[in-house]
């Protein structure tokens, strides 16, 4: 090889050197691409180099937990100062590597249960946060300036050639593997099983460096299962308001839901309340959504035409397999999810995002940040933002755009509906409406460049509380916006600080709509409106196909 050629192939040469180190270190413990689980730490010691960018597949749901644990046991003399890339940092070992000095820098998206410890480590200086991203941003940076040298991913099965079957929980794997494999990086996959023939190939074997069968199946969390038994009468009322006051009003056909009980209540009211309003076939036909068990009754009632998913949900496998007209399934019958595509779909192809939050300020900024915790964002900001690049029209998009521009000298365009749905008080009487978000204080504490806002006020189009719906599209000044928000903030200090006359005026103009303005009889807001009242009801609705995880059963 000439010197000139070598100048442009340093990454490839480096990759070859790593592979050779592995061959030398593992010898007989290596069977083609298949590594014995007992040699996993040796493999990592040989593959990794100090300062490597390492993507560890921690997804919203599935976790490369075996590889994550192995990474905490590497020889710190050889491997240190790693730059970790994680979309979801949710297992203790994800932070153990920082405590042990194996890694020092972190770029991530969501931290959930580890948020408190992450904040402490960041404060102690053992962990240096590059940035906190949304999922799409982080995936995007894998292809721009944060390309992994080594990726540790999880799949259900592999064959001896390294082909991977990710099954229903494909999630982030394609994005990670593609970014790594095509930039001379090395993909190492933990799999539940090594088999001779895969049900289907999700990741081609020539993208994959090594495969290891982990002693226990990868950890996976049922994040999207909401037991209908826990839905309150207030949530039923809010779901009625959402359906009648927003879904019907804008004829929303393409949408994404958050994961809370509020939106589960809407899903369970589609076959009852929405059907009664004659909305079947007119609303909620196409979804970017994980396979929510609460959506089963609506699917069975024929409301839902298609669902594309970020990931799967435990227990839904057989139901999905039996409904290929609705879900995206492979020739083998199991679903294929893809977080990157679904996030893009949610951003560009949906007319509405509706979800709950913890705090909303007077500008409509909405945040789930809590003091002492660095929780990150996940995917909500991509869903809950106007897609300013969008050009294709739909009724809902056009109507929202028209409401926002009416009476102003602006060129016509549409707008995405972004609805924040929240009870005025959370548990323990914590008000959902505040003058100033906790995010400001958190930003100061953790030295962040900007307060961690989940959804920016200028993207929020509607705020829905048990008190009413505030349509921010129709507000014509900052003052009107503020009073519209105060007007649905109920008995919170923010709500009680409203200008009563102005709020009544906003109500006359339809900017604030109370349940009675929508023609909703509050006495009908009982749990009897739910298409399924408990987990067993969901199983029944699925014809016995849905098998809830054991922690959700009371039978």
């Amino acid at each position: 090889m000439s010197q000139a050629e070598g100048r442009w192939t340093t990454q490839q040469s480096n990759r070859s050197a790593r592979l050779a180190r592995v061959q030398a270190a593992l010898g007989g413990a290596l069977d083609g691409k298949v590594v014995q689980a007992s040699h996993i730490v040796e493999l990592l010691n040989a593959v990794l180099e100090p300062g490597d960018r390492v993507c560890l597949e921690g997804n919203n749901q599935k976790q490369a937990d075996f590889l994550g644990k192995a990474l905490t046991r590497v020889d710190t003399g050889r491997v240190h100062g790693l730059h970790m890339l994680l979309s979801v940092l949710s297992l203790p070992e994800h932070l153990d590597v920082f405590e042990k000095g194996i890694a020092s820098k972190l770029d991530f998206s969501f931290s959930g249960p580890q948020a408190g410890r992450l904040a402490k480590l960041a404060q102690s200086g053992k962990l240096n946060i590059g940035a906190i991203h949304t999922y799409l941003e982080l995936f995007a940076r894998y292809f721009i300036d944060l390309t992994p040298r080594v990726s540790l991913v999880a799949a259900e099965m592999a064959d001896r050639d390294g082909n991977l079957y990710t099954g229903p929980n494909t999630e982030d794997t394609p994005a990670i593997a593609e970014a790594t494999a095509f930039k001379s990086g090395i993909v190492i996959a933990q799999v539940n099983q090594v088999v001779d023939k895969l049900p289907r190939i999700d990741i081609p074997g020539d993208w994959v460096g090594y495969v290891v069968q982990s002693p226990t199946p990868y950890y996976i969390e049922p994040l999207f299962t909401r037991d209908p038994a826990q839905i309150s009468e207030i949530q039923v009322l809010m779901a009625m308001m959402a359906i009648k006051g927003i879904y019907a009003e804008y004829e929303i056909e393409r949408l994404n839901h958050g994961i809370g009980f509020d939106t589960a209540a809407i899903e369970l009211l589609l076959p009852t309340y929405a059907a009664e309003l004659g909305l079947k076939g007119k609303i909620a036909r196409h979804w970017a959504l994980n396979p929510h068990p609460a959506l089963i009754p609506a699917i069975e009632a024929g409301f839902v035409e298609s669902v594309h998913s970020f990931g799967s949900e435990l227990g839904m496998e057989n139901y999905i397999r039996a409904r290929p007209d609705v879900f995206f399934v492979g020739p083998d019958g199991s679903m294929r999810s893809n977080r990157a595509f679904c996030q893009a779909a949610g951003h560009y192809a949906c007319d509405m995002f509706i979800g709950s939050t913890l705090q909303i300020d007077l500008q409509g900024n909405s945040s789930t940040a809590t003091l002492g915790r660095i929780a990150g964002f996940g995917g909500a900001p991509n869903m809950g933002a106007d897609a300013r690049g969008r050009r294709h029209p739909s009724k809902a998009w056009l109507k929202a755009g028209q409401q926002a521009r009416e009476g102003r000298n602006m060129i016509p365009r549409g707008q995405k509906l972004v609805v924040q749905m929240v009870e005025t008080f959370r548990e323990h009487m914590a008000p959902a409406f505040v003058e100033k978000l906790d995010a400001w204080q958190l930003a100061e504490q953790a030295n962040m460049a900007i307060p961690p806002v989940m959804i920016y006020g200028d993207d929020v189009t509607h705020i829905l509380t048990e008190e009413g719906i505030a349509n921010l599209l129709l507000c014509r000044s900052d003052e009107e916006r503020e009073q519209a928000i105060r007007g649905v903030a109920g008995y919170t200090p923010v709500g009680m600080g409203r200008d009563k006359r102005m709020v009544e005026n906003l109500r006359d103009r339809g900017i604030i709509r109370r349940p009675e303005d929508l023609g909703i009889d509050k006495r009908r807001a009982t749990r009897d409106l739910l298409a399924a009242k408990n987990m067993k009801g969901l199983v029944r609705a699925s014809g016995g196909l849905y098998e809830p995880p054991k922690r959700f059963r009371n039978w």
């Binding site: 005025t424 008080f425 009487m429 048990e466 509050k522």
Partner: protein
């Protein structure tokens, strides 16, 4: 625990029938006992709550309740375990609806 007392005059709707209890003293919930009582036309409300320091909120919720129903000669007693105003209003309405004569209709 905190005890709060409110009294509203000027109501004009009287209750009929036996005292009614609705709701349960469980987390985020409350029980509301509504009874007809000779109170010279007033509506008296006593709240015993586990959530201390929300007097102003209760005052506002109760004032709206009175404006909505305009009860006269009524005693309302509440045991609360941190219910939100939405739940409080819902239980109050349920309790009153169970005690108003059928012909008297809904809230004003």
């Amino acid at each position: 625990m905190e005890t709060l007392n409110y009294r509203f005059d000027g109501g004009d709707r009287s209750l009929a029938g036996m005292p009614q209890l609705v709701g349960v003293v469980g987390s985020g919930n409350l029980e509301v006992l509504v009874e007809p009582a000779p109170l010279k036309g007033a509506c008296e409300i006593e709240v015993r709550t586990a959530a201390v320091g929300f007097g102003a909120t209760w005052q506002a919720v109760m004032a709206d309740f009175h404006a909505r129903w305009r009860l006269a000669d009524a005693r309302i007693s509440i045991n609360d375990m941190g219910a939100t105003p939405a739940v409080v209003s819902l239980r109050l309405d349920q309790a009153v609806e169970s005690l108003l004569p059928p012909a008297s209709g809904g809230p004003a």
